[in-house]
Amino acid sequence: MSETILSDLAKALGDQSIKVIDLTHTLDPDFPVIILPPEFNQCARFRMEEISAYDHRGPAWKWHNITLSEHTGTHFDAPAHWISGRDLPNNSVDTINPANFVGPVMVIDCSEGSATNEDFELTPELILAWEEEHGEIPKDSWVLMRTDWSKKTGADYLNMRDDGPHSPGPTPDAIRFLIHERNIRGFGTETVGTDAGQGSHYTPPYPAHFYLHGAGKFGLQCLANLDLLPPRGAILLAAPLKIKDGTGSPLRVMALVQGNDI
């Protein structure tokens, strides 16, 4: 059976009736990272240094050394990232069952609300309304919050002000609903974190991080091109680097989408 499905898949990829959508931002030194109060250690920016470039340092080859954090650019959060998930088994990127890196993805469109409200909240009511239209979120799915925030550039992306950053995100109730009522695999956003910019002011602070990782679920952030995905029916490919005891990883996130869905 699998032979038939995979050969059908190969054929569909070949004739582009299934398309591959890139949901990843380019790793770029100027891409924003999360900013913490300056007395805390900070997330490393992406940096690239030439080792050689077909020159005296290496005449026939060009290569770079790169430096970055586990949480720089489009990246995956493992349960070990948060204190609530610190004691779970298989909580780091190297020990997560790789079956989790391929799976169904639901996309909840919050772009309209986010366009007019920088602190737009995803609530259980909005999730239920989405389900009215598209059916119940299947167990073990990725759920992505589409805000079109990935189209923002420069200072508008973090939207940092004196009272902290302002960007959309889920309420504590929404995350609890997705975990306890729908048992999702993970939650992803287009913003710099899975939580709202003002997420530190919820109880608990950063509810998406706190609840998701406490329940062994995963996070994806700094996603792009979510507007190219259907509300349901796509398959997400999101495999973090196999970093020993890694709490997360930059990665190439892709989706398989049936041609008639886009």
């Binding site: 030194p29 250690n41 420069g154 973090l158």
Partner: protein, 418 residues
Amino acid sequence: MTDPLPPPPKKNPQVRTVSPTRPPEARSRTALGLSAAAAEGRFELQHCDDCGKVQYPPRDACSGCLSTELRWKDTDAKGTLLAETTIHTSTKLYFRERTPWRTGSVQLDAGPVIICHLHGDCVRNGRVDIINRLDRSGQAVLLALPSQRSPHMEDDPQLRAMTSDPKHRRILITDARNPNTSEIARALSDAGASMIFVGLSETWRPSPTLDALSAMDKVDVLPLDVTDTHSVQKLAGAIGGKTDILINNARFLRPGGVLARSDTSFAKEEMEVNYFGLMRLAQSFGPVMASRTADGVNASVAWVNILSVHALSSQPEFGCFSASNAAARSLSQSLRAEFRASGLRVMNLYCGPTEDEWYQPLPPPKVTPQAVARTLVTGLQNGLEETYCGDVAKDVFERFRDNPLILERETTLAGDGA
């Protein structure tokens, strides 16, 4: 009076840029004492410990009593011009390109008669003040200035040849986020700088100083992150050929010594900004600046590093930051040597604790942005290599010069036990 220096015309792109030439560099080891004093803008001569004679030129023994107990000391710089002449030709390439050039002899009130360069406004039998300056080979020369200020006297070509005057020059300040940037930009503008480029890192987050800087007349804020090689190369590609003075005020600072921290994160960032940042800037801007040191009125002239005075000797409360500054200071010495053949001058400006967030828990005195700006502009106008801003920096340097091991003891006392 001196003719005021007009702003330079736009560069003729059909004319070859003049290659830098240098005045004679050779000095005896003893005579280097005069250059060391010139690096700090001091007029020092040898004073004999035995007979008290003040002598010039520098020698290994006293010309009065043959004692070798000679000490370099700050010396009264007043004197009277005895004789003067104007040189119209020279076998030395550097002077051939710059004649006419005035020299003369001055009777110092302190005793000796010296041969020196003459400012255009000095007159025979007139009273003069001697200044000890570095020439483009980085060696000390003495220059007589009229003791009464004359109009536009800083525009004298012989004086300007020995200084790093910001007037009519285009200047890059590397870090808009440093709290001292606005004051430095303002002081340079007041000193006649023609353009001030200011580098701004991480344009994706707010900068508290951006509005004030952008509102300033001659200021252009441009993207620059000294931790990002590509960013530095990109800006050098854009403005490297018209950067006459580079002021590196990029600084990353967190409190703590080795054991106050449990990892190397902040220390790495300190090295990335304070040490590698300087290296990246030098690798991108250095070669082109070194090639333009004879490029007319706005030739490239100076490279400025703003450092903590604890680059000289650690301040353990800021031990890792001190270490990064010690590394930067050492690198500046290498850079100074590498720039020497071009005549591009490296000036290090050393500060004690500055009036900003990271030194907030420390008691005064602290160095204000205005004081940094003042010291910086004065240092450039005097063509210095080493300058100290504020009482703490001056005091630490004096103690360092006196005895580095005593200074280290003094700054590392743990306090009496119970």
